[in-house]
Amino acid sequence: MTVLSARGLGKKYKRCWALTGCTLDVPAGHVTGLVGPNGAGKSTLLGLAAGMLAPSSGTIEVCGGVPGSGPAQLAKVGFVAQNAPVYANLTVEEHLRLGARLNPGWDDGLARARIARIGLDPALAAGKLSGGQRAQLALTLGIAKRPELLLLDEPVASLDPLARREFLQDLMEAVAEHGLSVVMSSHLVADLERVCDRLVVLVDSRVRIAGEVDDLLATHRRLTGPRRDVDTLPGDQQVVSVRHTDRQTTVLVRTEAPILDPSWDVGELDLEDLILAYLTNPGAGRPGLEVVR
């Protein structure tokens, strides 16, 4: 089952494409990390999925419906926008009331328990909360709505390490308890490595690679050896990045098969290396780098 399915999805602002040709399937029950440099289209993709934006081309289907198409559809998808906006002049208590009144599936017990555990004063105006508390309040609204899919745009960017950890703990707990699917964008690879089991890398408004983190790690290898031309590599090895010194060649390849050439010293990659390789080599590699599902 997929919670998000995009076909040739694109979004144009004025004359500039923020996202082009995005074809993507996100299966249910996973936490998918969305990474990419600033302006790569992460927020645009999330906005399209939430129905905040209308696509300029292609189609997107979320939880089996058109994003933002009606109350039933909105109830299925939660979205916490960048900087976790809340009403500054409404109290925490009033935010819970807002959630209860605007969502038929509202889980008031869950919301109140969370607020109590985080230690937010219900009578405090949301404008007086710290960045971390605000993010927690926004996440509470998103989780207590009991959506099938929760979209988070840079949820931890403004948080200190402690608040970040607490936020992710709560998020993962909700995933474990309610079988929630999550798509979240973040720059913090260390966090993504912990919480995400799937990854989508966006570069230059396009999906560079998408798949399960463990699969990606298992199929990418760093080959180091005497200097040579990468065109001589076997056809099933897709080159992600190449670096030469006068004596040595370092290639990052993606392959399903084991590396048999004994002249290579084969190394494994961690997630950060892998992501950076794709971010720093947006166009490199041979064509045919299709999306892994």
């Binding site: 992710l168 993962m172 707990e173 474990a176 490595e193 912990r194 919480v195 089991d197 961690d270």
Partner: protein
């Protein structure tokens, strides 16, 4: 009951680290047959990691015959690694000591020994998989 932790610099993925920590605990006698592994929900809330990661680690341990899941109750240890290995440990250590002395006589310093051991160990284990 054991407590998991994650090491960002271990070079292992979170699920591999969980598997390794359980195996370590079994080997060192920290976990016995019948002991319960931490609940998925607790590990998730504790470490802020993806529940699928924990499930995957537990599934792998189950596949190895070390633990068994009882639906609705939890995951319990069903085998132990300590008994078999302790007896075999002494002669192996003896061999390794001898090899280390040989390596030093051949002029290798500590760093050299470590590099040689690790590369050989890795390539050997890869050949096993392949």
């Amino acid at each position: 009951m054991i407590e998991f932790h994650l090491d960002g610099r271990s070079g292992l993925s979170p699920y591999q680290q969980l598997v390794r920590q359980v195996r370590h605990a079994l080997r060192l006698g920290l976990l016995h047959e019948g002991d319960q592994l931490p609940k998925v929900k607790d590990v998730v809330a504790d470490l802020a990691i993806n529940p699928n990661t924990v499930l995957k680690a537990y599934r792998e341990l189950e596949h190895d015959g070390l633990v068994a899941a009882r639906p609705g109750v939890g995951t319990f240890v069903t085998a132990t690694l300590a008994g078999t290995s302790l007896t075999a440990l002494a002669p192996l250590r003896q061999d390794l000591r001898r090899w280390l002395a040989k390596a030093r006589r051949a002029g290798l310093d500590e760093e050299g020994i470590e590099a040689l051991f690790l590369t050989t160990f890795r390539s050997a284990s890869r050949e096993d998989i392949a």
